[in-house]
């Protein structure tokens, strides 16, 4: 039987890039069809296909790494570069929305009353629920670091506890933010204030949900003994993503909630 004479991973042929691309086609076309013809079927089909693609693609990566041993040190290095580049691209994504916010708020137009917050807007008190949200995310940053150290020390029980606590804090943030959205005295349609507020915080909330999901997968994997004290890159990637989410919130809080109020 032929064996490879290198440490890199030559992947098996996979159908998931094709199904993922199809999902992108269906979601974008579905959005257009929804806008013009009020039908959600194509959009839902695209979302279902996206979910199936993600589950099977990442399931296969876990199989290749944990069960087949393909994630050698050079391969892991590549995965690290990949995650860092992805998070960097996400930073630029948020940078755009912060640019939009500062563009509108540093030089408010006469239509807004020449002031920020614009005339008629009652902003949320930054020292109420938003401050609690800040504390919750900062605490979750501590617990995820605690989980990492427990993992590195081979302390299975504490790693599971700390990771569970991190996820609970993440869900608590999401619940608080959902309540704030419901109770807010302004909407996304309330001028540029509403737009910048809900688009920036909304995308942030979506990333919190993504991060919480990633951490939950890591919890399930930790329970099933996938991680060792030396090799647990999936967890590290989730922790990096979570810290990124936390930092974005800090910028949102200081810029939009505090300075912008």
């Amino acid at each position: 039987m032929a064996h490879q004479a290198h440490a890199y991973h030559m992947v098996d042929p996979s159908p998931w890039p094709l199904t993922g691309a199809t999902a992108a086609l269906l979601m974008t076309s579905g959005l257009a069809i929804w806008f013009h013809f009020h039908s959600l079927s194509l959009l839902y089909l695209g979302l279902t296909l996206l979910l199936l693609t993600m589950i099977q693609w990442w399931r296969d990566i876990i199989r290749e790494g944990t069960f087949q041993g393909h994630h050698t040190p050079p391969v892991q290095k590549g995965l690290r570069y990949g995650m860092i580049l992805f998070i960097t691209s996400e930073v630029f994504f948020f940078l755009g929305f912060f640019w939009a916010f500062y563009h509108s708020s540093l030089a408010p137009t006469p239509e807004l009353g020449g002031c920020w917050p614009p005339t008629g807007i009652n902003p949320l008190d930054p020292f109420e629920v938003p401050l609690l949200n800040t504390a919750v995310l900062l605490a979750s940053g501590v617990t995820v670091t605690w989980a990492h150290h427990s993992l590195m020390e081979g302390n299975r029980k504490e790693a599971i506890q700390a990771l569970t606590l991190t996820i609970i804090l993440g869900f608590y943030f999401t619940a608080l933010q959902a309540m704030e959205y419901y109770e807010a005295p302004f909407t996304i349609a309330d001028g540029v204030y509403g737009t910048t507020f809900f688009v920036a915080t909304g995308f942030h909330g979506l990333h919190v949900i993504i991060g919480s999901t990633f951490l939950t997968i890591c919890l399930l994997r930790q329970i099933q003994y996938h991680f060792t004290s030396e090799h647990h890159f999936g967890f590290e990637a989730a922790a990096w993503y979570w810290h990124f989410v936390d930092v974005v919130w800090l910028f949102l809080y200081v810029s939009i909630y505090w300075w912008g109020s």
Binding site: M1, V11, D12, P13, S14, P15, W16, L18, T19, T22, L25, L26, S29, G30, A32, I33, H36, F37, S41, L42, L45, G46, T48, L49, L52, T53, Q56, D60, R63, E64, T66, F67, Q68, G69, R156, K157, I160, I223, Q224, Y225, H226
Partner: protein
């Protein structure tokens, strides 16, 4: 140990015939056994049987009395022999490693057989069906609206 004649020799564990107690000063060609008295920090003659029990060695069997246990801890399922459940489940990774490293030529996304095939075929059906649905929908959306 006795000699052919049956006489007891100095090596006899029952003790030397010439002296029942220690006789370190008597040096009559016999090798005396000395033991170290830790209290006086001096050598003193040892009785025969002591020669076979070196002072420095720890006994194989502990002579300490067993600690008294007043209550045995409740044995949980995880402490049972034979690989029972541990904290939140047994480690099944080695079993999975065996399954996924079988040299059957299957690609990783189909390696587990039936459940993988089912999921793959469902996904592929949605993909192909979805593309057709999308093309039809876009074709219809591209038709000009009838002007009244």
């Amino acid at each position: 140990m006795t000699s052919a004649s049956g006489d007891r020799t100095w090596m006899d564990p029952r003790g030397c015939l010439f002296c029942r107690s220690s006789c370190p000063e008597r040096d009559e060609g016999r090798i005396m056994f000395y033991k170290f008295n830790g209290f006086t920090q001096r050598l003193s003659g040892g009785a025969g049987p002591a020669a076979y029990c070196p002072q420095g060695l720890k006994p194989l069997v502990s002579t300490e009395p067993p600690t008294m246990i007043f209550d045995t801890p409740t044995k949980s399922v995880s402490e049972l022999e034979g690989g029972g459940v541990h904290f939140l489940g047994r480690n099944k990774v080695p079993d999975f490693q065996q399954i996924f490293q079988k040299p059957d030529g299957l690609p990783v996304h189909l390696k587990r057989g039936v459940p993988d095939r089912l999921l793959y075929r469902t996904t592929m059906a949605l993909t192909i069906g979805g593309v057709i649905y999308c093309l039809v929908a876009l074709f219809l959306a591209a038709q000009p609206k009838k002007q009244n």
